[in-house]
Symmetry: C2
Subunit: 260 residues, 2 copies
């Protein structure tokens, strides 16, 4: 049985550290840590080989066999009151389990014959999470994100992805345009998705292995410099009100067309 140290004070350094990691993208970067909440996400991280540094639980979940299995693999286990848990939780109805995990330092293996969706400066956590879920459902090789977009290790994004971001390869291109140019030079087909000024409709594109499809920022779309790198600018023909289409809905259709 794992041993749990009790923490009662909100001023405890370990509690304060959880709040910092949870709320600050910058602090996640410097510490190399992120926070997951809820049994399902914590178990997903555990089963997918993430290094769990600390686990915080409430008494309520301490008898759950999955919680015991997970906690047995972790060196630092803490028990806190439901009240204190509410204070550090990012959710309205906390489940009473929270893990501090290490952000992988190694990028996963990139496959030049794979199929990827690349997200330039996506700002909404729900959109990033939803796109990750669709990418996983259709078996994409991974997701590429830009440094300027929302942090995939934020608690909100992790929750919206229902753990998909823990299971599929995520590539953080700190120089987004440059890295895409290199992939293009290495023979990959790069497509920018656009509303205006397109070269082709998505239905007319033959997506071969070795493809990257770029979705742009919610307000501004794919930037000019990234459009310039693309082999083709492609679009979804719409008969209705185009501004209605949300980027996660558009991404679902592009991913479907890439993998059908």
């Amino acid at each position: 049985m794992p041993e749990f140290v009790c923490i009662n004070s909100r001023d405890n350094e370990k509690i304060k550290e959880v709040v910092r990691i949870s709320s600050s993208p910058k602090h996640r970067k410097t510490s190399g840590l992120f926070v997951l909440e809820g049994l399902r996400l914590c178990i997903d991280a555990y089963r997918n080989g993430y290094k769990i540094e600390k686990v915080f639980i409430t008494d309520e979940v301490s008898k759950n066999p999955l919680v015991i299995e997970l906690a047995s693999s972790v060196n630092s286990c803490f028990k806190i009151s439901a009240d204190l848990f509410n204070k550090i939780s990012d959710t309205k109805s906390p489940q009473g389990i929270l893990c501090v995990c290490r952000i992988p330092t190694q990028q996963p293996q990139f496959n030049l014959k794979g199929r990827y969706i690349a997200l330039e400066n996506i700002q909404d956590p729900s959109n990033l999470g939803a796109i990750a879920r669709t990418a996983e459902a259709f078996g994409l090789s991974g997701i590429i994100i830009s440094d300027s977009g929302c942090d995939p290790f934020s608690p909100k994004v992790m929750r919206a992805s229902m753990g998909a971001l823990l299971r599929i390869p995520v590539f953080n291109f700190s120089d987004f345009a440059d890295s895409l140019q290199k992939l293009s030079d290495e023979g990959m087909s790069i497509y920018a998705t656009v509303v205006d000024g397109f070269d082709a409709c998505v239905s007319d594109v033959d997506f071969c292995p070795g493809t990257v499809v770029i979705m742009g920022n919610e307000a501004n779309g794919v930037s000019d410099v990234v459009r310039g790198i693309a082999k083709q600018k492609i679009t979804l023909p719409m008969t209705g009100r185009a501004e209605s289409l949300n980027v996660a809905a558009a991404a679902a259709i592009f991913i479907w067309e890439m993998t059908r």
Copy 2:
């Protein structure tokens, strides 16, 4: 210039009535009223011919020309403090304008040669809102919903739909299965979307005019009785983790295939 009556107390009957309409689906049904918050949604309702019964604003927005235009068309206009507005608002960052509108009593005109998406018992407000947006973007003839699903006139759903639900025809089928059976008898092609036990992949279906595609509940999918009515059970072939696919993402792909 419209005249605004000031209300200062949370115990004012008109304030209490807004909270009741906003929070209770049952009260919306009995009163025939719903609540919209935010300038964009209120203007959408105004421009789409919804009858606005009351408007509540804070001082901050009272000089906005759009607010003045809207309020000029409304008989009962109230000004309340930002503090009181926060208390009746359903959002974290209220914009200072809220309308009480009448739910249309007449169903819109149904077109037997149209293309519709039907939602059986969709529970999540974000999903209903997102599907409405996609339906509008691709110019579907309308959305059919079941009585058992979440209320399209709830403030959360209206917000998630970004006003799409105010602009496209919405049909509430109180007897969902029966009504679909009638449409089938009248010659429409009814398709149920399923994960298992399908007759065809969506790509192999030729969606003619006069089509209804049914999306099922988030947890349980399309019910057996509704599957029994469908001409065909259709699916999206997935190579990845099928349970990852969210119903709004799946709906985006089905709507795309229906209208391409």
